[in-house]
């Protein structure tokens, strides 16, 4: 198995990476790391890092391809990433996802640092401890210090695992903004609002019935420091579920200033419907929202100068040349392009304008967060990304 990957997929992912790298270097005149110069990272001692250090992770729960982003014909879709964020950060051009290419299970793998193997469509918690549990348990942080904002009902179990010695008492608070909006609109005619309520583009004809949220709509509004009416009024000025997620994330940042915030964007997964124009629009929107998140970090005193921002798609999408797929529409073939993506990191101590060539895995995010924030993700299987530490 791993030999197969090493021999074939690896060559393709190297070529994907090379094209990104060459383009990026020409664009930003970037310095770049070679693995030769990597240094090993000393094991972190829980609590040894500054308690004010913060991290925000933004994942795209709907992969995107180089053709629509980093390749010449796609660059017009990501002006903010290219011109504004890349020059300030370090980009890993070769992130290889060897797990299951379903959004919930892949995001859970990102959050645990282990390739989770559960059914992507099942409402189950991750099997291994999540980054939120390590963080809160090791650093003795309150529940208000770790949050997840996710667009899809399928993500309602992402906040904590069912691992022994961990679990709900150390988990993150998970906010599914659309669910609350739906509750708020339950008594109204929803024709004007329903465009915000889509769920699960991968199986668009199915609307999951899930357990009731742990907090009521009124409590949720209180969490955001808003009245229900204000929440609805603001939400209805937004054009997509991801806009709503960002709005909620900003409210959380102002109200609680959590040290660990995880935002999963999902609009671009509309690609599953097969409409190229809608997929492109969603990429452009996501690009803008990433910029807005970074600007918010710079504007908020609790975050400015002490926050590391990670941005990464959970995986790619099928290549046009993959016979078993249908191009951009899905991520079902498991081909190298659907598995190879990128990661951009910005924040204090990160070398700006840097392109990192060596292959990394999504599993490396949690150990890197552990080294940054000072907790020990002992069951995670990735390795810290030394270039960010």
């Amino acid at each position: 198995m791993s030999d197969t990957w090493t021999l074939k997929a690896s060559e393709i992912s190297e070529s994907v990476s090379r094209s990104r790298r060459e383009f990026l270097r020409s664009l930003i005149g970037a310095a770049y790391y070679r693995s030769l110069f990597s240094v090993s990272v000393p094991p972190s001692t829980p609590g040894s890092q500054s308690p004010n250090r913060r991290a925000i992770v933004v994942t795209f729960g709907g992969g995107c391809r180089d053709e629509e982003t980093f390749m010449p014909q796609g660059q017009q879709n990501i002006p903010h990433l290219l011109m504004e964020l890349l020059p300030q950060g370090a980009i890993f051009t070769r992130v290889e996802n060897r797990g299951i290419l379903g959004h919930y299970v892949a995001t859970a793998s990102l959050a645990t640092g282990v390739y989770e193997t559960f059914d992507n469509f099942a409402s189950v918690p991750p099997q291994f401890p999540t980054v939120f549990e390590y963080f809160r348990r090791d650093l003795k942080r309150p529940s208000s210090d770790a949050w997840v904002v996710a667009p899809s009902n399928g993500f309602n179990r992402i906040g904590c695992s069912d691992a022994r010695s961990f679990g709900p008492r150390y988990g993150a608070q998970v906010v599914l903004p659309k669910r609350f909006l739906k509750q708020a609109l339950a008594s109204k005619k929803t024709d004007d609002y329903e465009h915000l309520l889509q769920d699960n583009y991968e199986t668009p004809l199915f609307i999951p019935q899930i357990e009731e949220p742990r907090i009521s709509l009124r409590e949720f509004a209180e969490v955001l420091n808003l009245s229900v009416t204000d929440f609805v009024t603001n939400a209805l000025t937004l054009s997509s579920p991801d806009e709503l997620s960002l709005y909620v994330a900003k409210q959380l940042m102002r109200r609680y200033a959590p040290n660990l915030l995880w935002i999963t964007l999902h609009d671009m997964d509309i690609a599953h419907a097969g409409c190229y124009s809608l997929y492109i629009e969603a990429i452009q929107r996501t690009d803008r929202l990433c910029s807005e998140i970074w600007r918010t970090i710079q504007k908020e005193p609790e975050y400015a100068g002490k926050t590391t921002l990670f941005i990464l798609p959970d995986f790619g999408r099928d290549s046009d040349g993959s016979v078993g797929g249908n191009g951009f529409q899905h991520h079902r073939t498991g081909d190298a392009r659907s598995r190879t993506t990128w990661l951009l990191a910005l924040g204090p101590g990160i070398h700006e304008n840097t392109v990192v060539d060596r292959p990394v895995q999504p599993l490396d995010v949690v150990p890197t967060l552990g080294a940054l924030l000072g907790f020990d993700p002992r069951m995670a299987r990735g390795k810290p990304m030394s270039e960010l530490l």
Partner: protein
């Protein structure tokens, strides 16, 4: 490990499929348990398969029977090495191979064996295709995509992905363009009259087509079936169906009659099963006409391997929430012509890619026209690549270049 297959396991198969499976029962008993249901999944649908698909199934079985014991064992080494649980090595899957395929896929992903499976499948298919005679098509294939219906002005750069492969015509006389194209495909059907070899697909209502061998499917024509399907799904969800997978299984089991198709006649049954599969297996095809047209062309090239496809993309509905769409109430549908043009430009490119995967690709031609406008693009052996032409040309002239 192989499966103790008996003739009774094929009792639920339709007549032709049962005949084929029974006549190869000795072979099926010798194949690995991880592979047999996958082969039977193709056989089970034999009655509704296109002639090209039947030919491939027959050739595949003939090839496997021609192998010596040692060669067969060598060919299937990879399948034998897959680590499967006992529940997937069970003769019961012979009767329900479709379900096996879903379960196998889920298991392979969760145990990180999916790459190994792709590898062994690819090795197997290469061996099969190497052994099959490479039959050239009866005439060079022609694909035609008509895009942009209803768009008056456009600023989106069309045909970008095609450019390295052919000639961009910027001064085509659009008068009677569609009529000319339809007449041309009807002529091709008359010149090579055989069932399922010539197709006209329309993302809106179909234009009259004048040859019995030109098979036609239109998105508007399928509206009653689409709405019946959406109602069925809606009902299943409200009745508390277990989850997306259960819903997909329900869709895969759906028979054409259940959503209002008429299956009378041999060809009628094949076309209605095909159309049902477009709506139940395609993603977005139930909702967006552009996705429907693209997916239909993909499935036609792959399955029917026809000589001719004319695909006309039409405006799809504006993106609306799934809940609203599921209601099936299309009274207030707004169309998105500009977005549909972008969808169709990409859809046409995929249509060409799929055409290129068939035997005879080097002689095949492809024409894409921005409907009622002066822009067209042609990929064919007689025209240069990466070239632009501003010369005034007629649609007849473009078609003549495609041979």
């Amino acid at each position: 490990m192989s499966l103790p297959i008996q003739a009774k396991h094929f009792n639920s198969y339709p007549p032709e499929a049962r005949r084929v499976a029974t006549s190869h029962i000795e072979l099926l008993r010798k194949l690995p348990a991880a592979f047999t249901p996958l082969l039977l999944q193709q056989v089970q649908e034999y009655d509704w398969r296109f002639p090209a698909e039947r030919r491939e199934i027959d050739q595949q079985l003939k090839f496997l029977e021609s192998l010596s014991e040692a060669d067969r064992r060598r060919l299937f080494t990879g399948f034998e090495q897959l680590q499967l649980p006992a529940r997937l090595i069970d003769v019961k899957w012979v009767s329900s191979p479709e379900e096996f395929s879903e379960q196998l896929s889920q298991y392979l992903w969760s145990t990180h064996q999916i790459d190994a499976f792709h590898e062994v499948s690819s090795t197997y298919l290469k061996a099969v295709f190497a052994a099959m005679p490479n039959q050239p098509p009866a005439a060079p294939r022609l694909g035609i995509a008509v895009i942009g219906k209803g768009v008056e002005r456009n600023s989106y750069p069309l045909f970008r992905k095609f450019r390295p492969h052919g000639t961009h015509f910027k001064n085509v006389n659009p008068a009677n363009g569609l009529k000319t194209l339809l007449a041309h495909v009807a002529d091709r059907a008359a010149a090579n009259p055989s069932s399922f070899n010539h197709w006209y697909i329309d993302g809106g209502p179909a234009e009259p087509a004048s040859n019995p061998f030109l098979t036609n499917i239109s998105y508007s024509g399928l509206e009653p079936n689409r709405l019946a399907l959406l109602r069925k799904i809606d009902r299943a969800i409200h009745d508390g169906i277990a989850g997306p997978k259960a819903l997909l299984s329900l869709l895969h089991r759906l028979q054409p009659e259940e959503i209002g198709f008429d299956t009378a006649g041999k060809n009628g049954a094949i076309v209605s099963h095909f159309a049902t599969s477009l709506l139940t297996s395609g993603s977005g095809t139930q909702i967006f006409s552009t996705s429907f047209v693209q997916w239909t062309t993909r499935e036609l090239w792959r399955r029917a391997q026809p000589l001719t496809i004319l695909a006309r993309f039409a405006p799809r509905q504006r993106q609306r929430p799934m809940n609203e769409l599921l209601s099936g109430d299309e009274q207030t549908v707004e169309m998105d012509a500009a977005g549909s043009l972008i969808d169709a430009d990409m859809g046409a490119f995929y249509m060409w890619l799929d055409q290129q995967r068939l035997p005879g690709a080097e002689k095949a031609s492809f024409l894409i026209w921005f409907e009622d406008h002066q822009e067209a693009f042609v990929v064919c052996p007689s025209l240069p690549r990466n070239t632009e032409s501003n010369s005034r040309v007629e649609m007849h002239w473009l078609l003549a270049q495609t041979g």
